[in-house]
């Protein structure tokens, strides 16, 4: 019996950001290729292993510092291509995927599933998604579906697995199935940009032009809100306006409304921020973050906050 499923962190899903790509085609043509990576398993001393894992976590972490090929090289040098250490196998699979090394990723995933620990269902779910996504990228979406299902069996609340499942269904020609899966993904993570994009395309294929337009609009707005390099007056204004429009189009995206409120506080518009948070708390009383931010604003208004 597995431990209770834990939804993989948003960070992990974010690192794996992606949506619909390949469709089912003929198997890849037999092109001359270099021999694939050999399966090797090394047993490093504990201190070397710990250092390599720490380094790999950093190299696979924040976007600015991320260097997946370096993480891949470091992990393979210390653990081999098929590590017996589960974390090393998992991180290696992630590094290989992000380094566009599908064969290395497959070797690492094999190693992970050989020793799959029961206490990391989040990693298991992500590993199944990676397996499926590799097949999608190889143009075999129908074969990817069982892998995404396995991920969801491990972690039913894994929005990213629902996204990939939706994409695989779309590329397999099942538009209605894709729509269902993508709508579920958005229900779980309203701000999942890629899911809105994929859903817009799926709606279009299903002939639902109006729904497609709405989802495409939401996707474009989310894209603007995630623009961390908005440096011109125009782009900052656009970003602000995007948050405001999303508040109307996607009110369930609490994270966005909180961000907008914080932006208003930074601009010294505490009055607007207060009204916005009161409205949000009234709509979503169960949101701990919303209540906390409201209290903070009210406290500041009373002169008790920073």
């Amino acid at each position: 019996m597995r431990a209770a499923p834990t939804p993989p962190s948003l960070l992990l899903a974010g690192l794996l950001a992606g949506a619909c790509g390949p469709q089912e085609t003929a198997p890849p043509a037999a092109a001359p290729r270099a021999p694939g990576p050999q399966r090797t398993t090394l047993a490093p001393p504990p201190d070397l292993a710990a250092a390599a894992l720490a380094e790999a976590r950093e190299l696979l972490g924040a976007e600015k510092l991320a260097d997946p090929p370096a993480a891949l090289a470091r992990l393979e040098a210390v653990f081999g291509t098929a590590p017996s250490d589960p974390e090393a196998a998992f991180l290696l699979a992630r590094a290989a995927f992000r380094s566009e090394e599908p064969e290395r990723c497959t070797l690492a995933l094999d190693a992970w599933f050989e020793r799959e620990p029961v206490d990391r269902p989040d990693w298991s779910a992500e590993a199944w998604v990676l397996r499926g996504w590799l097949l999608e990228r190889a143009g075999r979406p129908a074969e990817a579906l069982p892998h995404h299902e396995r991920a969801l069996a491990v972690s039913p609340g894994y929005a990213f697995a629902l996204l990939r499942k939706g994409c695989a269904l779309a590329d397999s020609g099942d538009a209605e199935g894709a729509i269902g899966s993508l709508e579920q993904a958005i229900e779980l993570r309203p701000g999942l940009l890629e899911a809105h994009f994929a859903l817009a395309q799926a709606y279009r294929r299903a002939g639902r032009a109006g729904d497609a337009e709405r989802e495409a609009r939401i996707h474009r707005l989310l894209n603007q809100t995630s623009d961390n390099s908005a440096n011109t007056r125009e782009s900052v204004t656009e970003k602000f306006a995007a948050f405001e429009e999303l508040e109307r189009l996607l009110p369930q995206w609490i994270e966005g409304r909180l961000t907008l409120t914080r932006m208003q506080l930074k601009l010294g518009r505490g009055d607007l921020a207060l009204a916005r948070m009161r409205r949000l708390v009234a709509e979503q009383p169960e949101s701990v973050e919303a209540r906390a931010l409201l209290e903070q604003i009210e406290r500041a208004g009373r002169g008790g906050g920073r």
Binding site: A17, G21, T25, D67, P69, A70, S229
Partner: protein, 566 residues
């Protein structure tokens, strides 16, 4: 090689030929490296100057392009190369000007050379910091003219027909202001039989804007060119050819007004098959534009509806160059863009009325990740009947090695073979040519059969470095057929015309391209690889405006001069 002219009734007669006949017989597989660097032996000596002084003016890193054109009407292709200019902090040691190189038998006669005729022709570029060039006969007088875009006002040169050009920018009204322009494209967008002009605007940038980017706290060496996100995008412009040497700026009614976009590349095709020429604009870290031509010089932006505004992952890409072509041989126009490193190059196949991102399944995505792509050509380099891909690569940051992990400023170009079944394979240098192993700061890429031997050669431009000419050594070992089209009712260059060649149950579609890639324009002739040796073939020409012409029993290994039926 002989050319055969085809009249309205498809009658054929031998025309003056040039150069030796190609070897007979078809090669089953590429026998040797596809491309050979013939820069030196052709006398091509052009070095781009980007004006870099260490101050890292944003405009330094993007140029420049090139255009193939037969300016002297002698039947072979000459070459125009765009030059930069002095920028604050940089003083040139010699006058900087664009270059017009006359082809005096290059590749076709012993000792053939390019001869620099810029001064006598009067096409030096007026001292602008040049970006793109697009060659076409805008006034329909049978002589190829030239439009040059700049960081600043653009220049339109009218070919006088005596080896000289006249700067007619002011009269034509096509300078397009003191703006940062990138690519441009000629096309008869209103279907009135003359060529209109689409000019891509990049960003609102001034050299003296005082913006400093990069981790300068670590030292001046860490200063970088700013990201385009530091600047607002500017509108593209659309000019309608009024037929009397003047153009009218119809941007406001046409569609691009107020859209911004940070455009870098542009390509044209009738992607929706309704008989008029549409446009795709590759935007840099902004959603792309797909302009559907609604007639009457009006366009509707439909990138989202057709699925090419973002990549298949829903992500904005830093798109540079772009090209339309029938990659999967289903007789419609697929689309390919080349992008920043870590943003895969994107292949969109047109399937069921919508574009689908097939980059990964095609094998084009993963190998492109390390590279920053600029110029791009979809062409059948080995004449096996399907479109291959060539990409000019080179990072935007001249100190990329210092400020970014695992990348370089100079990068090798890429050649991908179309293996059929929707799959591509990156050609190793042993197949592509050793020049594909050489790191360069690739920018423009223009294709032409400059030696008239029946295969497409490549001209690469480099930012701050020499242009390179690569001769195709293998294409003409397979059968091919070429078309040199002359419009009568439609525009004289037949830009936008589609040619469908029927051979052994297979139909191959190619089009006359009025500019694509990045800052560049190609040979306007259509060349179709036929694989094997099929004997005479049939062809159908769909002229701009919709007129169709059927030609039967055409001999292969020839260019056919075809005039639109009157």
């Amino acid at each position: 090689m002989r050319r055969i002219a085809m009249g309205a009734a498809a009658a054929s007669f031998a025309a003056a030929g040039c150069g030796p006949d190609p070897p007979a017989g078809a090669g089953p597989a590429p026998p040797r490296a596809c491309f050979r660097d013939v820069t030196a032996e052709s006398g091509l000596a052009f070095r781009h100057v980007n004006g870099a002084s260490g101050r890292r003016h944003f405009v330094e890193t993007n140029g420049s392009g090139a255009a193939w054109l037969d300016f002297d009407g002698d039947g072979d292709l000459d070459l125009y190369l765009v030059q930069g200019t002095e920028l604050p902090g940089f003083v040139a040691t010699a006058p900087l000007r664009c270059a017009l190189l006359r082809n005096d038998g290059v590749g076709r006669a012993a000792g053939g050379r390019f001869v620099d005729v810029t001064e006598s022709a009067g096409v030096g570029g007026n001292g602008c910091h040049g970006m793109a060039a697009a060659a076409a006969d805008f006034d329909g007088d049978g002589r190829t003219d030239l439009y040059v875009t700049c960081f600043g006002p653009n220049v339109l040169y009218r070919n006088r027909g005596d080896g000289t050009f006249e700067d007619v920018t002011a009269r034509a009204g096509t300078a397009d202001g003191d703006r940062y322009h990138s690519s441009c494209a000629w096309g008869d967008f209103d279907g009135d039989g003359d060529l209109d002009l689409y000019v891509v605007g990049y960003v609102d940038y001034r050299v003296d804007d005082g913006k400093v980017c990069g981790d300068v706290a670590r030292g001046e060496a860490w200063r970088t060119y700013c990201h385009p996100d530091m600047y607002a995008g500017i509108d593209d412009a659309v000019y309608r050819n009024d037929g009397d040497g003047r153009f009218t700026d119809v941007t406001a009614q046409a569609g691009p007004a107020g859209r911004g976009g940070k455009g870098l590349g542009v390509c044209c095709a009738d992607f929706d098959g309704d008989g008029d020429l549409d446009l795709f604009v590759a935007n840099d870290s902004d959603a792309n534009f797909l302009w559907r031509n609604d007639g009457g010089m009006r366009f509707t932006e439909v990138a989202s509806a057709w699925g090419v505004d973002f990549n298949g992952e829903g992500r904005t890409q830093s798109c540079m160059g772009a090209a339309f072509g029938d990659v999967d041989a289903d007789l419609d126009f697929d689309l390919f863009t080349v992008n920043l490193s870590n943003e895969y190059n994107t292949l969109w196949l047109l399937e069921g009325g919508q574009y689908r991102d097939r980059s990964y399944a095609s094998g084009l995505a993963a190998p492109s990740m390390p590279h920053v792509g600029f110029g791009v050509v979809l062409a059948d380099f080995d004449n096996d009947g399907d479109l291959d891909v060539a990409v000019a690569n080179g990072h935007v940051l001249d100190n990329a090695e210092l400020v970014l992990a695992g990348t370089t400023w100079r990068q090798p170009a890429s050649l991908y073979w179309n293996e059929g079944g929707g799959r591509f394979r990156l050609a190793p240098a042993a197949e592509a040519g050793s020049c594909f192993d050489e790191p360069r700061v690739g920018r423009g890429l223009a294709a032409a059969d400059f030696d008239d031997d029946g295969d497409l050669d490549l001209l690469f431009t480099g930012n701050g470095e020499e242009a390179r000419l690569l001769r195709n050594e293998i294409g003409s070992t397979r059968a091919w057929i070429g078309f040199d089209l002359t419009g009568t009712a439609s525009n004289r260059d037949a830009i936008g015309a589609e040619v469908r060649v029927h051979s052994r149950g297979r139909v191959v579609m190619r089009a006359v391209r009025g500019a694509e890639s990045y800052l560049s324009s190609h040979d306007l002739r259509v060349l179709v690889g036929l694989d094997g040796d099929p004997g005479p073939v049939d062809a159908e020409i769909r002229w701009p405006g919709g007129r169709r012409q059927e030609l039967r029993g055409l001999p292969v290994r020839r260019y056919h001069l075809v005039e639109e039926p009157r």
